[in-house]
Symmetry: C2
Subunit: 633 residues, 2 copies
């Protein structure tokens, strides 16, 4: 095992056990299951395990996992002599463990001890001594600058100490969080000889204005899930000649308590996507030697939402069909082989699928699938599979279109329809034709509430697999707790998915709080559409007068327009780029509503300023339904 | 309504609707139910409500709530003239709402707008204009310095502007968070004339190294739950002559999604306890005029744990009885009228109660009650009741001791036994006598896992009601997520309760993770006791060898002692003040274990460094039990 693989090899992919929830057994199984080549063993995981280090080594070997790193060894350097004697004793004990474990490299973090002396030469001298001891056993020490280290907190300072120590068994561990959270420039890695780059730890993070230690310990994310430039970072590390494992080290409060098998897949997807972002760039050609990085097929052009599908049962099906009819949709077809109805208006297509199995009381409805129109569905599907998306079995009868689908982390089936393709042939026409009945022209977006444990995974999934980019990210106080909304959109703004998640997992309070999914249709004239829907008796959500009074106070919009919004019950937002109008129906079935939106200009918000008003109104509606009365809540 | 009540009146108690979860209806009901006299109406709550401001006024009146404040009005001052014209328009609209609502005072926060000019005279002049408009309607403006205000971020700066404006309808709102988070000195309030102190907002917070805006918006707590000196703050405000409402304004992510009826009671308890801390102090006598503050009976001296009670069923009862027997406890009595067994060793008494109703599969066991020995049980009970503790009905047969009990937020019944009293008379002797069989001398502490939504409430409850003080507070990464431990103890260290809670609410992953409760017994010689327990066949938890190897590496403890710890399976910790040894049994029944601890010196930790090792071992034990095999996990 060394820092440089042969030319043309794929990098080894590794994950720190600290990224994953559970006991060491759970973690190793998860890492292996997701296809990692190796692991960093976190000391606390080993200490709590009932296996000897040698047994753990065997277990890893059985699982196809190399033990790439043992970590961390803390507070080793720049100490008074008597304290350093104790460090040497501790190090020898840990070197014993490493030998038994088959770990060649140990991570040493720059000291945070109050005892430590601000003396680089002393630090270098003591690290040299430790490296001597390690080297005698064929082990090596990767020294890392913690962003909150007492005297050494930047990677260039750690390099200066390693350089002064000048020992072949002492090198650097570069951690993207520690480097990027300090605003250091990774292009300076080029000054470090490749054989001094012992280890690489990759972690992303959101921008947060908080103590760097807390930021690091609780809020790290996998690459692509945060705000750091991980592709730029990795490019510099590889350009400097590093050829060791690409290892993820992410401390995250949610991942710590989520199913490790899923987290490991999320981690692997993140790493593949990160490699992909390097593979195709000119910079990759400048790497000192060739590396075979992951290169899934690029995302084909998406041209719109082909359809959205709602799973219904015998009770909710007629309700949703009735509302679609009132919304001006025509029931244009039924599926050749399944109890699926097709409803259309303009380019908006909604399927009501009674073939899915829904659990719970009668009246369930759930947005179970969405389909995007892809210029190349086969490439879309191949890309999804390369990015670890579970491919769904294709169940079709004779003469039906073969449409690939994958499962998103939130359980939604994502289908790839061919742009202009003939998937509609699966449906036998009813004879009804779609019209422009109420002015709905298409699907603007689909709103999906996300499972708490997998919201970051889902956001990366939709972005990476479909080639979407973040449009908005907001956090707001809803009536029953904080909610985070993230909208992702394709470059042409024709496919948009709005993801929402409770910032803290919900408890029992407010069991009838709406946590719904929705399909938002597009119109070019919200007032005309709104009036048509009112006239047709669509069960539109009642918006309080106080909302319009506040709108008037806040925005001083034209009185005639305000009156029109109040009349149709539309919510309104604007930003520097445009305006946003939206109308919502009541919740239908158990958790689905429809909405109609109009955008003007390049409005880039998500209407989330008004979301609490909509949520409170849905809550009143649901309470009324539960109580069977029309009194308020 | 004015800033000064008549002499000798109790202060009005108020709560901001933003403290509570739900819709405005939920919040007002909760505030009224907890006995508040008034509320601050948060604008977003009003905007989302389906009632007109006049209807809300009537609703509040019906509930006995004054509308003490309307809030917030943002970004009002120090603006260019054309922007200020828009502010005046907005203000008039909001004054309309206030008139209808019956709110005399509006909160204006110091501006955070990028448009605002750093010019105190301009700010004062524009606030004067706004105060003129307000005054014409009999309204008044309370100006507050946000800790993150653009140009005004300290209370003394806000006072300078109010002073310059010199308008009778313009005064200050003092908010303890904004003042104390900036490290300002509240003793300087004395320089402000009492009639300029329009409003007071009270909030506590933990010390956190983070952006002050995020700290304020997410992590505020009710007084007594954080780290700020709220009694000192309130004393200064009252000494300055403030006589308006004491109003709680707490933005907290957990409270935002918890049952508001419970949160409101927690809030009221916090306020009563805060008043109590002032009532008895000499400083209260120096207040310019007399105020009648809450003064529950002081906490009587506690002398120990009288007993801990475990609810059992037909399956778990014999299991726990058997382990208690192996632990060296004698079954010394059974209750006169209920299926309750008394087990004793030394001063440790455990009751096994088969009369409680347990839900779930057979084999349930739960620590359902604890009893403290009080020098004055009647005062203890009266204090608990004054602090909003639900008093439990006393159900006793003839010739049984009358023992008061209250319900803690975690559902535990807390009994008050008289020190040296005769509650044991409720039990008929079996003839068996307690012995010093295995060296257990008493109950060291009881460990209770807390409901996620009510952990801060519970910590304040145990502290305030029982007169306990925090001993330790730690947060650590357990195998299935972060855990926070808080231990509270009486001044003589004879009553100790260890509270633990998952930092993030747990999800479905790791359903067999132990989240157990336990009773920790005390011994003076852990090795002797441990050997006796092993000899007796107590099902002690197996601690991995790796743990002892790490202990050796970390602490270099005496080899003979290390061998003894390894032999008996004890965990070990030490701090600057002393040492801590602990042994745990396997989980018995569904979620209870026993532990035996020895303390030397004044060890003030909670052994939580080792808790993950214990938790992983419990997890393995539970998995084995579930799988019915002895292979590992």
């Amino acid at each position: 095992m060394s820092g440089a693989d042969a030319d043309g090899a794929a990098p080894r992919r590794s994950i720190a056990t600290v990224c994953l929830s559970g006991t060491l057994t759970d973690k190793l199984s998860a890492a292996s299951g997701a296809g990692f080549d190796g692991v960093e063993i976190f000391e606390n995981d080993l200490v709590a395990a009932p296996f000897s280090p040698a047994e753990i080594r065997d277990r890893c070997a059985d699982l196809g996992l190399a033990v790439e790193l043992y970590q961390p060894f803390r507070d080793a350097e720049a100490l008074p002599p008597e304290a350093f004697v104790r460090v040497l004793r501790r190090a020898e004990r840990k070197f014993d463990v490493m030998e038994d474990l088959g770990a060649e490299t140990v991570l040493m973090c720059s000291t945070t001890s109050a005892e430590a002396i601000d003396d680089d030469d002393l630090a270098a001298e003591q690290l040299h001594t430790l490296a001597d001891r390690a080297g005698e056993r064929g082990l090596r020490i990767a020294y890392e600058a913690l962003a909150w280290g007492r005297h050494v907190s930047t990677w260039d300072h750690s390099w200066e100490i390693v350089r002064r120590a000048g020992h072949p068994s002492l090198g650097l561990c570069l951690d993207s969080f520690h480097v990027l959270s300090r605003g250091s420039d990774p292009s300076a890695f080029a000054a470090v000889p490749a054989d001094r780059l012992f280890f690489l730890q990759l972690a992303d993070a959101p921008h947060l204005a908080m103590d760097v230690l807390q930021w690091s310990r609780h809020h790290r994310l996998f690459p692509g899930q945060g705000a750091f430039d991980l592709p730029g970072f990795l490019r510099q590390v590889l350009a400097a000649g590093y050829r060791g494992p690409l290892s993820l080290e992410v401390f995250n409060d949610v991942f710590r308590q989520s199913d490790p098998a899923r987290t490991a897949v999320d981690a692997m997807r993140s790493l593949i996507h990160l490699e992909e972002q390097l593979a195709g760039t000119p910079a990759a050609a400048t790497l000192r030697d060739r590396l075979v990085l992951s290169a899934p097929p690029g995302p084909p052009e998406l041209t719109g939402h082909a359809f959205a599908e709602i799973g219904v049962d015998a009770e909710s099906g007629p309700v949703l069909g009735g509302v679609l009819a009132d919304l001006g949709f025509a029931h244009t077809g039924h599926h050749r082989s399944k109890p699926v109805q097709r409803w259309q208006q303009g380019d908006a297509t909604v399927l009501l699928n009674a073939a899915v199995v829904l659990t719970g009381d009668p009246g369930q409805a759930v947005v179970g699938a969405l389909a995007v129109s892809s210029a190349d569905p086969d490439s879309s599907a191949a890309r999804a599979e390369a990015l670890c998306a579970p491919v769904l079995p294709r169940t079709r009868g004779p003469a039906e279109t073969d449409m690939a689908a994958v499962a998103a982390p939130d359980g939604t089936s994502v289908f790839f329809a061919r742009t202009g393709g003939n998937w509609m042939a699966d449906f036998l026409p009813t004879g009804a034709e779609p019209t422009a009945a109420t002015g709905i022209t298409g699907i603007d977006h689909v709103g999906l509430s996300q499972p708490f444990d997998h919201a970051d995974e889902a956001a990366l999934f939709y972005r990476a697999v479909l080639g979407l980019a973040p449009e908005t990210s907001t956090e707001f106080a809803a009536p029953f707790g904080l909610v985070r909304n993230r909208t992702v959109v394709d470059p042409s703004r024709r496919v948009r998915i709005a993801l929402s998640v409770a910032v803290l997992r919900r408890g029992e309070w407010a069991p009838c709080v709406p946590d719904p999914q929705y399909i938002a249709f597009r119109t070019g004239d919200i007032v005309a559409t709104g009036r048509a829907l009112r006239a047709a008796g669509v069960p539109l959500l009642a918006i309080p007068d106080n909302y319009y009074d506040d709108l008037d106070a806040r925005l001083a919009i034209d009185p005639a327009r305000l009156d029109a919004l109040r009349e149709i019950g539309a919510l309104y937002d604007r930003d520097a780029h445009g305006e946003y109008f939206h109308l919502a129906t009541e919740v239908l079935g158990s958790r689905v509503f429809f909405s109609v939106v109009q955008r003007t200009g390049r409005y880039a918000g998500s209407g989330s300023l008004d979301a609490p008003v909509r949520m409170a109104a849905h809550r009143r509606q649901r309470l009324r339904a539960l109580n069977g009365s029309r009194t308020d809540a």
